[in-house]
């Protein structure tokens, strides 16, 4: 948080807590805009990498993204339904992060909350409203305890919370699996699960058969966490401990209490998410019912920059990704796991905001160059594009090419596959060097061109005209561009010294 925005907050301290105002102030903050650019850039980069992955594994990229988008737009109720638990787990991770803690095991807290809600839901008989409230409260409480334990260990024993929360997450999954296989098992069913909860405990549906009341709870939780972090003494203390525990202690804040409490509240949020899922949709606890809600929560918090409203937006984005992903699996045949790969890449790119900065700086660099020297700049840009395209084509065809060549000339296929794979790496490196306008990039592109011509020759011997044409075109165009840059525009301002 920049110095300026902190002062801004100070001025507004007397103003009433108002979520709308809060959002408006956040959006107009330049640091927020920067974060937004980083997040969007990360999403775009991740999608680019994933499309290369899809090409490598032989899926139809266009159809996949089209169905993904279509599925996300047309099923808005499902999007929000999938987003609901992610809001809770995302808030859980985000809140702990504000206190400098990394709650990596919301999955276990979700399971504890869910089993708690299920137990109260089917074992206790209570009137409507009171029943839902009690079940939800018990699940949340179990989640709180499950988060408090690693919190206490962290605060008083210095035990690394990344390890303990993860270990407790695995324990919770195994423990609940045991509960539903033996003591709590619905003996009338073959599957390992509890009996269904009573009707009095079910949360009401909002629209359709998916969206339920827990969405409203989730949005209330966003407002509550925003209030807790920004407008209460506890939140202030937590942030202080998160930024510098020693300084906080000097200022009279008890870091131990805050650390334990922060993880406890984080656990409670995840537990409430789990309870909401059971009471609102599943209506019983089945072994392994959650499909990695905890992991998704980490992604959501990271993408939402640990800001409650950012978490809300990121959760809706991932809900859309999941709803669209199901459609993609059904129509384009791309496994849903592709969504998880996208998530992993997004987190990886969000971790490196400087990569995005670097790329945008290169973009601006090219734009100014294009304005001053149109022709040399566009030829150089084309060469960079060619390096990128060569890398992508290499990755997407090296399997099929080597198989075709192996069929024509036995024994060479493996070498061709390896050669093409290495060429893709060389091309990626060439692209980076070219973007920095270093002369080495040109030499690497020329090398890649030679490999392509070699592959074309091998394709000719193996008798595959498809390989010959494709390789020849890529090889010749790359070569031509390199010659143009090297010989026709030798005075190109190379090497701007833009390292970093």
């Amino acid at each position: 948080m920049s110095e300026q925005s902190r002062e801004g907050r100070h001025e507004n301290e007397k103003a009433r807590f108002n979520p709308i105002n809060n959002i408006m102030r956040m959006v107009s903050d330049p640091s927020f805009q920067k974060t937004a650019i980083w997040s969007t850039g990360s999403i775009i980069l991740a999608l680019v990498v994933v499309s290369v992955l899809m090409m490598m594994t032989g899926y139809n990229v266009g159809l996949a993204f089209l169905t993904l988008l279509w599925g996300a737009i047309t099923q808005f109720d499902r999007v929000l339904f999938f987003a609901t638990p992610l809001i809770f787990t995302g808030l859980s991770v985000a809140l702990a992060f504000k206190c400098g803690l990394f709650n990596i095991g919301p999955e276990g807290q979700v399971y504890m909350g869910a089993i708690g809600a299920a137990i109260v839901g089917y074992l206790v008989s209570l009137p409507i409203v009171l029943h839902q409230f009690t079940a939800l409260l018990f699940g949340t409480f179990l989640g709180f305890l499950y988060g408090l334990l690693p919190g206490i260990l962290k605060a008083y024993r210095g035990t690394h919370e990344v390890v303990t929360t993860m270990m407790m997450s695995y324990s919770a999954i195994l423990f609940t699996a045991w509960l539903v296989t033996y003591p709590l098992k619905d003996t009338t069913q073959a599957l390992d699960r509890t009996p269904p909860i009573l009707v009095t405990a079910e949360l009401p549906k909002l629209i359709g058969s998916f969206l339920n009341f827990s969405l409203i709870l989730a949005i209330l939780a966003v407002i509550a966490v925003d209030y807790l972090i920004n407008k209460t003494v506890l939140g202030y203390e937590m942030r202080a401990v998160g930024q510098n525990p020693d300084a906080a202690e000097t200022a009279g804040i008890n870091p131990k209490k805050n650390i334990a409490l922060a993880l406890g509240i984080a656990g409670a949020l995840a537990g409430m998410g789990g309870s909401g899922e059971i009471l609102g949709y599943h209506h019983l606890f089945q072994d392994n019912w959650s499909v990695g809600l905890g992991w998704d929560g980490i992604t959501v918090a990271v993408l939402g920059n640990n800001n409650p409203w950012g978490v809300l937006a990121a959760a809706i984005f991932f809900g859309a990704l999941r709803a669209g992903g199901l459609q993609m699996q059904r129509i384009a045949g791309v496994p849903l796991e592709m969504v998880r790969v996208i998530q992993g890449l997004i987190v990886l790119f969000v971790a490196a905001p400087r990569a995005i900065d670097w790329l945008s700086k290169r973009g601006v660099d090219y734009a100014t160059w294009l304005k001053t020297d149109r022709v040399p700049a566009s030829v150089h840009l084309a060469t960079s594009f060619m390096a990128g395209a060569s890398a992508i084509v290499c990755l997407s065809v090296f399997g099929s090419y080597s198989a075709m060549i192996e069929a024509g000339i036995p024994g060479v296929g493996g070498i061709v596959a390896l050669l093409l794979f290495l060429t893709s790496l060389v091309s990626i490196y060439a692209l980076i060097e070219l973007l920095m306008r270093k002369p080495r990039g040109l030499r690497l592109v020329a090398f890649a061109a030679i490999v392509w011509l070699l592959v074309a020759a091998l394709g000719y011997i193996a008798g595959s005209m498809l390989i010959v044409w494709q390789s020849l075109v890529i090889g010749m165009v790359s070569f031509l561009l390199v010659v143009l840059v090297e010989r026709v525009f030798p005075e190109t301002p190379l090497d701007l010294g833009g390292d970093n």
Binding site: T159, P335, R340, G344, V347
Partner: protein
């Protein structure tokens, strides 16, 4: 089986189970040590193990030789760690967030790979395992025969790599540089050694070792890849690293201890058959004991420069 004292026999089994369970932990913990001693937190070990385990099976499946599969696994783990290194060292990103990205990518890509390569959801086809080293002379010795008679060569590698890690870290110039990169990077920089490259090598080494640990699971211990088969072993290795105080010998001993605890869960049902209904509870034991062990130790001291990106002009 031999007709020996059943108690000795059981001890032998426990010893073997300990070694088998400890090998992936020790290898991965040593990997984590190389990364963290150079100053880069690596919680992505779990993802690197998964990718290693998967590419070992996929490599064996395509190439036909488990030894080549092993090499492919090491390269794949190293490559994934390379991505972590670039994000953390080159772009100075948040180490823990990047590590989480690595784990997510590992989980997703290996499950995806199962469907792409074999068209299956949970378990891959079986492939050839790395042949075990059989010592015929030991076969008939009561306890030792059961324990050491037939072991995967990777278990022997584990001992060698532990010794080698100690040697590299404490007795070579490169090891000194790695330790300096983690403790006091500005000194290393002043000595004219690139902090960035030292760290990148450390992280890539960690991925290679984690890949080897994962490969042991899939083609040394088992003969197929299962979805999420590491089941938190990367995190247990991380705990072993902390428990072992970031030293090679410490990692080795801590890995053996956690391996022993994990091995116990196979012994309990043999000792007490009534425990069958509690199988899932017994499986919690290693996770719970990891927490207890970590909570029980004195505060361990991580390298000073850990998780602090090194900026040339900035004085730390």
């Amino acid at each position: 089986m031999q007709t020996g004292d059943p108690m000795l026999e059981l001890m032998g089994w426990l010893l073997k189970a300990t070694l088998q369970m400890a090998t992936p932990l020790v290898l991965t913990a040593l990997g984590g040590m190389f990364s963290e001693r150079t100053g880069v937190v690596n919680i992505g070990l779990e993802g690197m193990m998964l990718v290693g385990a998967f590419s070992a099976v996929a490599g064996t499946y395509y190439v036909g030789s488990p030894w080549l599969g092993l090499i492919i696994a090491v390269i794949a783990g190293g490559a994934l760690a390379g991505a972590h290194a670039i994000v953390c060292v080159k772009f100075k990103g948040n180490h823990i967030v990047s590590g989480t990205g690595i784990i997510l990518f590992g989980l997703g890509s290996t499950t995806l790979g199962l469907q792409v390569v074999w068209g299956k959801q949970g378990l891959s086809d079986s492939v050839e395992r790395i042949p075990e080293v059989v010592i015929p002379q030991l076969r008939d010795v009561p306890m030792l025969g059961t324990a050491f008679g037939s072991l995967s060569p990777i278990i022997y590698f584990m001992f060698i790599i532990t010794a080698l890690s100690w040697y590299v870290l404490y007795r070579t110039p490169f090891g000194l540089r790695m330790r300096a990169a983690g403790e006091d990077p500005s000194t290393l920089d002043a000595a004219g050694v690139s902090v960035e490259w030292t760290r990148i090598v450390g992280v890539v080494l960690s991925g290679a070792l984690a890949g080897l640990g994962g490969a042991y699971l899939s083609i040394g211990f088992e003969n197929a890849f299962g979805k999420g088969m590491t089941a938190g072993k990367g995190f247990i290795a991380l705990a072993a690293l902390i428990f072992g105080n970031w030293t090679p010998i410490g990692c080795f001993l801590a890995g053996l201890f956690f391996g022993f605890v994990t091995g116990l869960q196979f012994i309990f049902p043999i000792l007490i058959p009534e425990l069958v209904t509690l199988t899932n509870l017994v499986k919690i034991l290693p996770y719970a004991l990891v927490i207890v062990a970590l909570a029980g130790i004195r505060r361990s001291i991580p390298p000073k420069g850990i998780a602090v990106p090194y900026e040339k002009e900035v004085r730390v």
